[in-house]
């Protein structure tokens, strides 16, 4: 807690600046399907290589994951590029994607006498990027929001006040909070993605930063075909084909949040 006078003054200066700066997210809010904003409004132009969709969705083939070893590469790929720290105590744990036993991933639909292989197989869980996200409804500052255009539920780490209402609202336990400065616990910092400060919430972003430059999400890339990613509202997309031709379930469907992550079981 050693703060010089200079630092305090700097803090005041930054605060004053923050109060006077127009909110940067107006750029996203004004963005249109066509990539052109309303006249006079700022907008973000999509890159030429960017992958586009109306609602991104993920299909996970649970049958292709036999043990934890099948999941580890996906988790590592994600956590490495997103600077997810390995915290020393469990209470402070941060995770974007991980695996859980079937009855934990789907606690509302436990099966009796199910196939033992499936019962013990690891089920990958992550943010569902719900079409009707309760976390977005709960957030008092719009720091978490559903991006118009592709439906990704994103976080603005600089606007989040750390009230954790989104964590209470999420029925999937997908969100983590930085209970302390995470930076000393990042194994190897990826300079292309922001690290977080203490006191903010974070979660999976469906690799929005990779989609913007034409790359698939890191977990999908690392999955060796076990995961499929695409536009839920494109009838020709791979995810739609998989949903059509397989029996799929989603987590806690009865809650009406419309998860965009589908599981082939």
């Amino acid at each position: 807690m050693e703060r010089s006078r200079r630092e305090i003054l700097k803090l005041f200066g930054i605060t004053a600046l923050a109060l006077n700066t127009p909110p940067v997210l107006n750029a996203f809010a004004a963005e249109q399907e066509t990539g052109h904003g309303v006249e006079g409004e700022p907008y973000v132009k999509k890159g030429d290589d960017a992958l586009k969709a109306k609602q991104w969705a993920l299909v996970i083939d649970t049958k292709k994951f036999a043990s934890a070893d099948d999941v580890t590469p996906l988790v590592e790929a994600c956590h490495r590029i997103h600077n997810v720290p390995v915290m020393p105590i469990k209470n402070h744990e941060i995770k974007w994607i991980w695996s859980a036993p079937y009855h934990n991933a789907f606690p509302m639909s436990p099966m009796k006498f199910m196939d033992e292989k499936l019962e013990h197989a690891p089920v990958i869980v992550l943010c569902n990027h719900c079409e009707n996200p309760p976390c977005v409804r709960a957030c008092p500052t719009n720091a978490t929001f559903k991006r118009p255009g592709d439906g990704i539920v994103l976080m603005d780490f600089h606007r989040c006040i750390g009230c954790r209402f989104c964590m209470a609202a999420c029925p999937f336990g997908a969100r983590s909070f930085n209970y302390r400065n995470p930076r000393p616990f990042i194994t190897e910092t990826n300079k292309k993605f922001p690290t977080r400060s203490k006191g903010v919430v974070e979660k999976c972003n469906f690799c929005a930063e990779r989609l913007a430059v034409g790359q698939l999400p890191a977990c999908v890339e690392a999955s060796d075909g076990k995961l499929a990613f695409g536009d839920l509202y494109d009838p020709e997309s791979e995810v739609r084909e998989l949903i059509r031709s397989n029996y799929t379930i989603r987590r806690k469907q009865s809650l009406g949040t419309e998860p965009a992550v589908y599981y082939i079981v």
Binding site: M108, I161, M167, V200
Partner: protein, 384 residues
């Protein structure tokens, strides 16, 4: 009138000094939390709200409880309460100071708190909660102060206050309703997702708030030349009696719905609190203590013989305040987070620094309360 809070007996200064010292220790502990992060508390990825938010919730109830003297006086012209409405209003102010402080210490990025008003988000209940809480604080400061000042000057309070006083009554209901809606609208949190949450919150509020007020009245009679009045205290006791009965009734309604329907997502939380789940049972003795205390309160308050004995009444009020505090300030929040959305049990135990900060905020509230009551009672003694 503020000068009245500055002059007092040695005991007054001693009490204020003690409170201030604890607030100081709490502030230093908070600086540590500000530096390290909320990791110094017992909260976790699974139980992401803990002691702070639970105290906040309980104290919103205490604040709303003040309306139980304001309503009969202004709406039913129950003249006896004229002596103590100011005590109800000032108790609400002190409780709200605690509420808002608990919110601030619970934030991960407290310096960004004004983002809530910089980016008003109408679909967030938390946004509305900041509006109703600050609004209620403002109304109580304006009304309490002006009515007391008029009393001191021997004149009737200004007519423009009347609409504000009437507004304060539904507003008191709103603060605890909106606070209940923070919890009651979250899909996947079976323990909180019940339509009876707001009524139950209000019932426990109208028990805990007036119970504390009775204790304060008894204390004031003993230590000052102002007597809040036996009749006033007895009427308040009846309010507490009805409210605590309703609170327990609502809880039993909850128990029926949950255990008769046998939907696991709703059952597991209550089971965890009252019987333990998968071998985790930290809260079980607490919850049963709360039930015993509330039951004791009902027995002592419903029976007129015991209620009319002020010594027994004091015991009943302590039991009810403590019982509702455990129920709401301890079980309500942890219970909702355990088991977690993946049905894993990770318990929450508050840490020492967390408890020190919470105690300091309670002391801050009592510091404000003592100063305000000192002013109010000095005025009452003057005009007597």
């Amino acid at each position: 009138m503020l000068e009245l809070a500055l002059k007092g007996s040695k005991r007054y200064y001693g009490w204020m000094g003690l409170l201030l010292a604890i607030v100081g220790i709490g502030f230093l502990t908070y600086l540590k939390q500000l530096d390290f992060g909320l990791g110094i508390t017992g909260m976790s990825r699974d139980v992401s709200w803990g002691f702070y938010i639970a105290q906040f919730t309980f104290l919103v109830g205490v604040a709303a409880g003040g309306v139980m003297v304001v309503l009969p006086y202004y709406l039913h012209d129950y003249k006896a309460y004229g002596r103590i409405t100011i005590l109800g209003e000032f108790l609400a102010i002190a409780a709200l100071v605690m509420c808002l402080t608990f919110i601030i210490v619970d934030l991960g990025q407290p310096m960004r708190i004004f983002n809530v008003w910089l980016y008003p988000t109408l679909h967030s209940v938390l946004f509305w909660d900041t509006i109703v809480l600050n609004g209620y604080l403002f109304i109580n400061i304006v009304v309490g102060w002006n009515v007391l000042e008029a009393e001191r000057n021997g004149v009737h309070y200004k007519p423009w206050l009347k609409p504000l006083i009437y507004l304060s009554i539904p507003w008191a209901i709103s603060i605890h309703t909106v606070t209940a809606y923070l919890y009651a609208g979250l899909p996947g949190r079976g323990f909180w997702m019940t339509a009876i949450m707001a009524p139950r919150f209000l019932a426990s509020a109208f028990a805990a708030g007036p119970a504390l007020l009775i204790l304060l009245c008894l204390f004031i009679r003993k230590t000052t030349n102002f007597d809040p009045g036996r009749k006033q205290i007895q009427t308040l006791a009846k309010t507490v009696a009805y409210a605590i009965c309703l609170n327990v009734f609502f809880l039993l309604c909850e128990v029926f719905t949950v255990f008769y329907s046998q939907i696991p997502e709703h059952m597991d939380h209550l089971t965890y609190l009252f019987a333990g789940l998968h071998g985790h049972a930290t809260y079980v003795p607490w919850m049963w203590t709360a039930m015993a205390l509330m039951l004791l309160g009902i027995i002592l308050l419903v029976n007129p013989v015991t209620r009319k004995n002020e010594g027994v009444l004091a015991v009943a009020c302590v039991a009810i305040f403590a019982g509702t505090w455990i129920d709401k300030g301890l079980g309500m929040i942890s219970g909702g987070f355990v088991p977690n959305p993946l049905h894993e049990v990770n318990e929450y135990i508050p840490t020492i620094p967390e408890l020190i900060i919470a105690l300091a905020i309670w002391c801050l509230g009592f510091l404000v309360l003592t100063a305000l009551y000192k002013i109010a009672i000095s005025v009452k003694e003057e005009v007597q």
